[in-house]
Amino acid sequence: MSLKVFDGFKFAKLPTPIHMMDPRAKFTMTMGLFVAALLFSNIYALIVIFLVQLPIVYAAKTWKKWAASMRAGLLLAVLIFAMNFVFGSTLVFSAAMTLRFISLMSAFSLFFMTTSPDDLGLALEQAHVPYTLSFTFTTAVRLVPTMALDAQTVIDAQRSRGLELDKGNFMKRIRNYIPILIPLIVSAIRRSIELAEALESRGFGASPNRQPLIVLRMKFTDYFVVAVTILLEALAVYVYLYVPLPSPNIPITMPKIFPWL
């Protein structure tokens, strides 16, 4: 089931250097990968961006979950490839766009797998993001696994009423998801209202000045990671602007099926 994709974004506490890194350093690293992946549409560059992540995944000891989330994203990756190719892109460009998606997914999966929502909230607070905002964000992250569980229950309930998700043509299959999405959205809204009421009953926001119990401190390795990220990013921008990258010349495209495009 496609819900496995959420597993790849679930935090699990492990004693690895990646897990123990300051969330801000990790966020810088993720953003570095994010910007680089969006910057380039050259396939060699995107291959490098993808490969760079592998040692980090290895160091974080999250191979299995990472691989599972990659497998779960496969369908979307295939769709992106097919869409690009069908609508007139070359084989190489379609592959590059797919690789961009995979790299982005991998980077964010890595970040969320190794950063606890608590750390994330602390980092946001210390970056002077208003507490209500950082709280909203961490709660949203925290609720993802719950939502995934809900989604599974909704799917089970509707299948028990004779719904067959993978039946029918393409449009019918998309429509099949309406009975899944509506209960999911409705129960998410209900839950958020309940949560808000419960929070207010417990005095949320009563005192404007919050004193954090734990203060995050960047260590030497954290500064080092940030410095390396900035350096590599600068290098990437330089390459993007001034170095003409080679591209494999495989001029295969689909025959035009939509002549107006």
Binding site: D150, S160, R161, E164, I182, V186, S187
Partner: protein
Amino acid sequence: MIRTEGLKFSYPSASEVLRGIDLTIGDEEFVAIMGENGAGKTTLVKTFNGLLLPTSGRVTVDGVNTRESSVAQLSRDVGLVFQNPDHQLFSETVREELAFSLRNFGYGEDTIDRRVTSILETLDLSRYADSSPFVLSGGERKRVALAAVLVWNPKHIILDEPTIGQDYQQKDRLRNFILQLNTQGKTVITITHDVEFVAECKPRLILLSKGLVIGDGPAEDILSDEQLIEKASLARPQIGALMHELRDLGLSDRVIDVYSAEQAILGALGRRR
């Protein structure tokens, strides 16, 4: 007939939830399943319509192995009503909500109309036919969810915690309705934590604990067994507790419902009504 043989089930990346269950639930039986939270009750019933397939062992419904059939096919005979109605209501009107499964099963519009109207009446929902299911109260939504399954008239009906969120009168009605379904020839399997509900219905009671069946028999026997009650995190029903306290007077503590208790007490007092 629903039969499980050596049924084991574990979710991926979790320990075994069902650890070898052998059960036979005959046609037209009325069964309650009780047990502590996490005992595997919901997991067990999800194997009855093929939503979950055994990791080992097998489940057969009227002789058909659930492995060899689809959920949609099995659901025609096994109607499973989920605990939380919010996990399944999605239509603009209650009428449409009830028609959903009938459309899935390929019924014609005439039949759909007839069946929906009839079930709306049966479950006291007619006045909400054209309302959105989302504006109804919790108890009403629960009845809509029940109606949404009963509408296709499955042979075996499974209810996951049907009494939650129902006021006393609705609960009474629900009990009568369930008993009525059973006398009409349906197999009724209900998961519940409500000992009073079970005491008044007196079904066959199956106790689950940590993925195993630890008790199976008439509700009177199970709910008066000190050890089983303890093991399954239950409590005696109030009447049962009272009769237990009064056992020194020579009263049987296997009595758990009001009517039988009345008979027993009057009998002990040497009077008859």
